[in-house]
Amino acid sequence: MNPGPIDLASISVIILLCAPLLVSLLSRSQRLLIYSGFALTAAASLLAVFAGAWTVWSGETQKLIMLIGLPDLPFHLRLDPLAGFFLVVIGLLSFFVSVYSIGYVKGFLGKRSVTSLAIFYCLFLAGMYMVVLSDDALIFLISWEVMAAASYFLVMFEDERIENRRAAFLYMVVAHVGAIAILLSFGVLAGLATGFGSFSGYTFDAMRSAHFPTEWATVAFLLSFFGFAAKAGVVPLHVWLPEAHPVAPSNVSALMSGVMLKTAIYGIIRVTFDLIRVFPWWWGAIVLVFGLVSAVMGVLYALMQHDLKRLLAYHSVENIGIILIGIGLAMIFTAFKLPLLAALALTAGIYHTLNHAMFKGLLFMGAGAVLHATHERNMEEMGGLIHLMPWTAALFLIGCISISALPPFNGFVSEWLTFQAFLLSPSLPSPLLKLLIPMGAALLALTGALAAACFVKAFGVTFLGHWRGHHRPNVREADWPMRIGMIMAAAACLFLGILPTLAIGWMDAVPQQLIGTSIGTSAGAFGWMWLTPVAYQRASYSGPIVFFGILGIVIAAYLLLHVRPGAIQRVPIWDCGFEKIDQRMQYNATSFAMPIRRIFGFLFNVKERVRTSQQTVHKAFPKKLYYSLHVRDRFWGWLYKPVIAASFWGSRKVGRLQQGRIQAYLIYSFVTIIVLLVFLR
């Protein structure tokens, strides 16, 4: 038999599962370990990409039943277009990141052993691939938790730092609680699929062929949505995310933010569209609302950060929100039997999934390069890096443009599609939704604009201006493996932005599989140059023309203006006649965000204090001013703190039981007997 895509995929998983052995053998010679280990993961990722792309292309589904697992419930694998698409998303970024890691991880050489990093990196990738491949509840949860555990250890990598431990612990607890919720929802589905007479109910096939009463289906959906939302970092469950992602090694944070969150998106799509299939419109409304809230809150909190990686982590919350908006709209349209619009919204959602993976991966890799060079995560201490690391700066800029949804890069296309989906909502029968959904569009617009502001800040403060820190480290440009990793990601961003028609035509099979219709034909109706989602009259966008048009005009203008050689003279900046101007007087992250902090202040938990030093000649002219600002995440106080307090309260109360006197214990058993006997009579 000739090997099909699923065989390739499982081969790559097997490679990743066996890699740890090799790695642990090589732990003597760390350098060799890094090269071989990450080369191996890169190869495996490419294999997975190939398998996934092949599946989506051919649009056919393959199954595989493994020999391991419970004897009555062997592990079922299945590779359908949806799984294939996510396989591509994950594989592509993990390929880029694996290449990048070869350069990045070398930074740890001599400082600490990277063996555990490499091992858990492999397991992490394997877990993610298995999640999308798995086709029964047991293997799904196993791979889900393997993924979580591996990433937990990766977050713990530099475990002597207290904040790493704290973040890792928080992450682990949230992830596990979510996993239990998912488990329970599968319990509902399996129980309804075939009672619990046998183990067969746990396979997804059984669930697909089953028909669920609405109330039970709702229970299942809410449970699974809670679980997946906890993993995806949807507000208000997101608090762990900005703690955990920044402290992990940057290549890992790229993967966690870029693709691990996407597995949760995959889960939501899989459960709702594939397993339950028939659902009321308000499920979609729930998803939509959570998406909107996450998008706005995520970007607003991101604006308040001055730690580069934290900022990016909060932007993951935002983008997950945008993806959920697309999916929510798709669910609403599906519920109202508008398949074409549903296909449009779904395409927008998954296209943004792919795009976000690319540019968020790129951004985290860039942040990693900066961290690697300056050993500094606080933007207030940076500046002017564009002169020292031009490559990184340029690539990071591409990431910034993409994530700020600006043409001609990829972030824009998917947000534009989402807008189109919004604009089509008037065709919904329910008048209330007609009125309310456009508000969502406005919120999305707000999100996009704020994101742009946030990345002007991020790029401007990090790479532009003068160095703000006190002591300036000798910064060196990232080495070639890192650069190549970033270049590939940037190229992907550009390609997906300029030629969306091809990408959408390719990923057509996914809505085809889930909804039954697709927009591929209409979107590509006018050839590869014109993207016309619904109809030519409705709306259209041409990436190539925008890109090459602007480029052409720029070049033309440049050439025209340089026919006459004009001398350029460099001078110090204009200091308004005030000689003592220095780099501490530049705008920094905090001051940049000040107007927005003022305007949206009610959403944050802001502690702002100005203190004048004691020895002042006159209170109007203090010698020194001390300014301190703390912006805390409100949801920590609203959601997490109370839970923690409650559980400790409970444990204090329970502790009373064990109070030491043996007589009391005897009384317990005495009373127990009496009570049971009474209960029995």
Binding site: V456, H466, R538, I599
Partner: protein
């Protein structure tokens, strides 16, 4: 193939480049009259540009390539937008390149780079300008989108030429939703093009300027390009408003008479628009930055009202 659309395309771009400065000059002239000053004439902007182009470039020490790239990019986006908005004719080969949303995004990328350039040289002014500009923009965006949304409700499309054609075909006479949308659009235009009461292009007073603060360090041809681009931007927004709300006269058929008529109509409308603009600018005073939330909030409110009234009244 008939060359007509391509001719139109080129004609539009030329008109944009040519009339952009004149329009600004017209506004200044009107303003002088309104304030009882004697004006410098319609063509003063041309002279300014020529002066700037002929000057050498003085660059801050640590200005990076971004600082030098930005003027060309800003100019480029403006020109490209000119090729898309139906100024004279709705039958343009590039019309399908971008619908309204993409157009807004085009202006956004120009703004993005301007803000970066402001931060590049590392003065306090640049950062301040960038910060304020992005804040204003982020507040203007939702209102802008609501206005677009309302219009696209009426004309089931976001593609400019189709919106224009629909309005022209006349089945949409005076509608409450469109009126509200128009009002909202005017407010947003003031914010986007940096006019009073949001920003004052004429001032260089540290604490009030927004756009000027970002480009403070520019000189020579760079400054010229940016100035020109901003003039075109004002023109483009006006043209956009005209195309969406009062497209009557824009040629849709291919004969020179129609085009000539369209040109005439356009000049007429621009004149009126200039008057309106000047009335607003002389009538209002520059706002404090933090009162802009109210200003743009009311724009958002108007747009939303337009949307509601579409569903409720029509």
């Amino acid at each position: 193939m008939n060359l007509y659309p391509f001719v139109m395309e080129i004609l539009q771009v030329l008109i944009l480049l040519a009339i952009g400065p004149v329009f600004v000059g017209w506004v200044r002239v009107l303003k002088c009259w309104a304030q009882g000053r004697s004006s410098a004439g319609l063509l003063q902007p041309y002279r300014d540009l020529r002066k700037l182009f002929s000057k050498d470039v003085v660059l801050a020490e640590n200005a990076s390539w971004i600082f030098r790239f930005t003027p060309y990019l800003v100019f480029g986006t403006a020109v490209l937008a000119g090729g898309i908005i139906p100024i004279l004719s709705t039958d343009l080969p590039l019309a399908a390149t971008a619908d309204v949303i993409v157009l807004v995004a085009l202006f956004a990328i120009a703004r993005f780079f301007t803000a970066l350039a402001g931060m590049d040289i590392g003065t306090a002014f640049g950062g301040m300008g960038a910060s304020r500009e992005m804040t204003v923009a982020s507040l203007a965006e939702p209102a802008m989108l609501m206005a677009i949304f309302t219009m696209s409700l009426a004309s089931r499309s976001t593609s400019l030429s189709y919106m224009a054609q629909l309005v022209m075909s006349g089945q949409s006479v005076l509608r409450p939703s469109i009126v509200f949308a128009l009002l909202a659009f005017i407010l947003i235009t003031l914010a986007e093009t940096g006019r009073i009461p949001v920003d004052n292009p004429a001032t260089h007073l540290e604490l009030t300027m927004i756009h000027e603060a970002m480009i403070l360090e520019y000189s020579g041809r760079h400054l010229a390009l940016i100035e020109w681009a901003s003039m075109m931007k004002l023109f483009l927004f006006t043209a956009l408003g005209i195309a969406v709300f009062a497209p009557w006269g824009i040629a849709s058929s291919a004969d020179l008479v129609a085009v000539a008529a369209a040109l005439l109509f356009m000049l007429l409308k621009l004149g009126v628009a200039g008057v309106v603009l000047v009335l607003i600018e002389t009538g209002l005073a520059k706002m404090r930055l933090f009162r802009l939330t109210e200003f743009l909030g009311s724009a958002f409110l108007l747009a939303t009202l337009g949307m509601l009234s579409y569903f409720i009244l029509e």
